[in-house]
Structures are given as structure tokens and as C-alpha cells.
Symmetry: C2
Subunit: 263 residues, 2 copies
Amino acid sequence: MKNYHKIVIIGSGNVATVLGKALKKKGFTIVQVYGRKRETAKKLSHLLNCAFVTKLSDITLKADLYIIAVKDDAISGIASSLKLKSKTVVHTSGSIPMDVLKGVSECYGVLYPVHGFNKNEPLNAGIPFCIESANRDDRLKLERLVRKLKGKPFNMNSVQRAKLHLAAVFANNFTNHLWYIADTILSDARLPFKLLVSLAADNLNKLKSSHPAQHQTGPAIRKDTGVMKKHEQMLKKYPAEFGSVYKLLSKSIQAVNKDRNHK
Amino acid sequence: MKNYHKIVIIGSGNVATVLGKALKKKGFTIVQVYGRKRETAKKLSHLLNCAFVTKLSDITLKADLYIIAVKDDAISGIASSLKLKSKTVVHTSGSIPMDVLKGVSECYGVLYPVHGFNKNEPLNAGIPFCIESANRDDRLKLERLVRKLKGKPFNMNSVQRAKLHLAAVFANNFTNHLWYIADTILSDARLPFKLLVSLAADNLNKLKSSHPAQHQTGPAIRKDTGVMKKHEQMLKKYPAEFGSVYKLLSKSIQAVNKDRNHK
């Protein structure tokens, strides 16, 4: 079983750029980049020292691995007009099932990095990569590729991956929005955001060794209605959604901790 | 101006215990502990090698500093039956105005550590302490006390502190609940929670140097309605609040990013 060596990157955004640069650095040869827009495709091809194309029909058949790193809703369109025979093709999406690539090649799979990428940052070590593939040979090769990138391979099916992606929306996108609300309130009080960073860091440390159910604190779980009413009053000067978020999250905390409070 | 030396701790819970132990370790003398419940007061007095009382009227007048570390809603009751002449008295609450202590002594203030305390853990270094006081002398002494504890003193008034406390509910209590939801979805998919910890750690790192508005990601801000509908469908098997939280936070993200999306 040979490892992948020659790789085509389909896409030229954040994930395509970060993965492409990391793969090149680890000795893989990027033979071609595909991008819908000429400018961004060209730019990435310069970074990776390879050719670029802007038509799917111009993608070379001379690579071992094709990584589709485009927006979720563009994957099925690309899949429907791409034919790669028995070459391995993977997409990098958390929410799209593997089977969308069934018609592209006999060898298809998923390589989903659980991370928020920025074009200008390198690939950190220790990032989990979710792997799925139609055959065992590709699964083992993808695992090796992930380890070469200093990532952590996790095997899971499309249903599990979709749940992980949903969970990540809560743990990442939604928490960031709560930090945004906190930041808005702090700015309004002319207080620095760093006042809350050590609190957040401490909580995250706890999550490394225990589960969030074990350390829910705050007025909602204490049923401290005096403080909660005061907070709701204070929130009236901000966008209406802030108050709604406060009420709903407090309600949700109390709902899932019902048994605990009855004790 | 002499520093505080002899301290009375009023309260015997998490904050009282952690602060009491840290102060003792740094050379302060804890002369007495007050607790409503005999058992917990006794236990803490053993730890701090001092006397304990269970009646407010038995609190000694021979200390320099009185730290009221009890539940928010118990502070005003204690304040109304405590007379300490010109001895300095502070409470440790984020949400209660300083003035609640006006009748207790001429010298009153607030010492609010922005942290979630657990009895069995030591006081970490670097914790922000919010300081407020009726006079300059106490403010300087409280700042010195905080620095002795390796904390970071921040001066602010009661209105600012209440806003900080509200912001902390969003950035800490509510984010923990979102992690709880994420954990529930992951367990259901038989996936380990650690899959999301590196994502959360990376986000937190970003918050140390930039603001949350700069890195909101996810389907809501991208207006990826396909993924959002799928997620809402997936959430139907969990407690109803999870779906409501998903919809409301997505709506809130879109509301505060309206201008950005119009660009």
C-alpha cells in the first residue's frame, strides 16, 4: 500500500490554503489547484508552487488524492461534474455525507478537520481530523496523512460527523456570540474584555478533565430570581435579542437541571 | 497607612474558604470565622486555625478587615444587623452595590474576585479582583492585599461591577450550558468530548488578542440556511430547549451582524 504523494486541491479558500501549505511542507507534492475565481486560484498556486485551473474539466487525472475544500453547498455541484475513475477523492466538510462523492470515483471519503481556519495561520498540531472512507485502504492512508500533519485521526461515519458538526456550532459559534454579547456589555461599562479571559480560560481547563454538567454555576442554576430580574432589567438598553438569549438560556439551564434542583 | 493584618471571614462557603486559605498562606491572621451553620463554620475555622462563631453579635471587633463572603441575597440581612464602627468591611459579590454596607461602618467597600471558586482548589494567580471603597485609604490597602494574593486589582464603581457580573453570566455560565448541549449531542453520537476541546482552546487564544466580533463563524453568519434547517431537524430528538436555543442564537448572530452581511 503506497501513501498518497501527488495531491490536487479543489478550492482556494481558508481550508484549501492552510491544508495545501501544510501538506507541501510535509513533503507531499501539490500538482494542481482548482479555483472558481482565477485570481484566488492563481494566488494559491503561487504559494504551493503548482499549476492552477479554473475549469473542473481541466483537472489532471495524474494525482493520487483529490481534496475538495469548498463551501458545503458547492460540494454536490462539483461532485456531479467531476469524474476521477479510481483516484481517491475526499471532501473536508463536517455536515455533508460521504455519499455525495459516490459518482466521482470508486475511492471516496471524508477528511474533516475540527478547526476554524484562517488563511494566514499555519496548521496547528493536535487538531482532530474526522476520517471516513469507502474502503479500508484509503482509511489507513488518510490516517497516515493526518499523522504526518501532526493531527489526530478519528474514524467516524457520516451521521456521527454531522452530530459532531452540530455540537461544534454550539461549543464554538454560539459561545463566540455569547462572548460578543459579554464584550458589548463590558465596552458599554468601559471595562476591558481581558477581565473575563481568565474566567473563560479556567473553565476551559476544567473541560479538559471533566464534563460541563459538573460545573454549571450562575444565577439560573441557583434559581436566584432576584439577580435574574435585575439582569433582565439591565439588558433592556441593548438589542432585544440579548434579553431573549438571557431568558431562554436561563430557562434551558433550569430545564436540564430540574432533577438536580429537586434534590 | 498600615496594611490590614487581622481579618474576620464572614461566611464559610467556596469563596470564604478559598480566600481565607489564600490570605492565611500569605501571612494575614484570620482571627475569626462566622458561619450560619455550626458544622461548616467549625470546619473552616479548623482549616484557618482560628475561632468560629455562629451569631453575628459574637463577631469580634478586634480585627482590621471584615470580608463578607456569603450568597448575594444574604448580604443585606447581614449588613442590617452588623455594626463595626470604623473597621473596614467589604463584600465579595459581583451584583450587590457597595452602598448596602453603608450602615455597617464608616469604612466599607467591595472585593469581588472574577472567578468561579471551588472549596478544594487553591486561589490561582492572575485572577482579576474588582475593588471599590468609600475612601481612598481602603482602596489602596485593598489593592495591596490583592497584589499579595497574586491577583490583579481593578478599580470600578458598583454600576460597572454589576455590568461585569452580567457579562460574566454570558461569557461563563451560558457558554458552559452550550458546552453541555454540545456534550449531550456528542455522547449521543458516541463521540468523545475532547474532539471539541482543541477548537474551544483555539478560540479562547484568539480572544486574548482580539475581540469576538472579529471571528464569528458558522452557518448563521454565513446565512447557510440549508445547514441550519438540517441542524434544526436533527435537534428534534433532544430537549425542546436545545432547538429553541439554536434558533434564537442564530437569529441573534444574524441580527447583530446585519450590516456586515449587507456589505
